[in-house]
Symmetry: C2
Subunit: 161 residues, 2 copies
Amino acid sequence: MPDPQELERVLRAAGLRVTRPRLAVLHAVHDHPHVDTDVLIGAARARLGTVSHQAVYDVLQVLTERGLVRRIQPQGSVARYEARVGDNHHHLVCRSCGVISDVDCAAGAAPCLVPWAGESPAHPDFLVDEAEVIYWGRCASCAARPAVSDTDRPAAQRGTP
Amino acid sequence: MPDPQELERVLRAAGLRVTRPRLAVLHAVHDHPHVDTDVLIGAARARLGTVSHQAVYDVLQVLTERGLVRRIQPQGSVARYEARVGDNHHHLVCRSCGVISDVDCAAGAAPCLVPWAGESPAHPDFLVDEAEVIYWGRCASCAARPAVSDTDRPAAQRGTP
DNA sequence: GCCGCAATGTTGACTCGTTCCAGGAAAGCG
DNA sequence: CGCTTTCCTGGAACGAGTCAACATTGCGGC
């Protein structure tokens, strides 16, 4: 919930022109973390009246490039965006309803985790700069009702209840 | 490189009928770890002459469900499959060429990692059953040539060189 | 060995998220 | 003020994946 001025500053700092669509999309991403492009388009339109869908796609791409938003896309889900960047946090994804929640990274800085503990790794020369972690499981409410069937994994879906 | 008989046994053990497409796909996944569906279709066809693409999609889905293969899908990449299952290993993905390599998991059993160390997690009641880790970086050969540009991240692409 | 049914495979059209295109209008910013 | 970036309208294309209806084929039972 950053104020418009702050967002404007962030855009300028990234070397981007400050335009209404960009502010709207940026705001939307802050307001609704982990939602897909469709929802963002909706949110941006709610704020501006009209924005073309490719303006939004464009903006998202540019913001992602500049590191102002982060694109995430768990298995079977469409692209989702979040505004929390730079703190290298991870995600919890519910296998049955698809909700995504943030989890702070214990270590803090990236890469918070390295693939090999000591020396002589299986892949020397591979320069790891980030460890992306997705925790799969069942969220509280899905865990409550005892699984419709054992094989109900309709893949991550829409919505951030 | 398991022999056909072994694969057949595995299929039966999973309660699946043994059919040519299934054997072919299973074999292909063993032969070519980390490749996408297209390549697998090609490999299966090379072995059988003809297989419809949904037969392959179907088979992959069923095999994934039964845990005979594992589906992986790093950001910006299409679905890929591998036959190493049950050992909860992780992956190294090269940002510039997209190669995927396996890394053994230090812990062994899933979930090898839990999101919160001690008690009082931010998300109690969320039952984590698996921690999926992707290490992003640059592979040896891409690290060698000093980055075509600083923003060259064409997302994970095809091929397992 | 042979039958019959349910599980699989085939075919071809189709969905859906996403990207690309092009020409003209609008609007930032130096 | 003028140049350049960005946006718009509105298509059209794209590729991975899915659906549906019909043909085929494993495999347990006879």
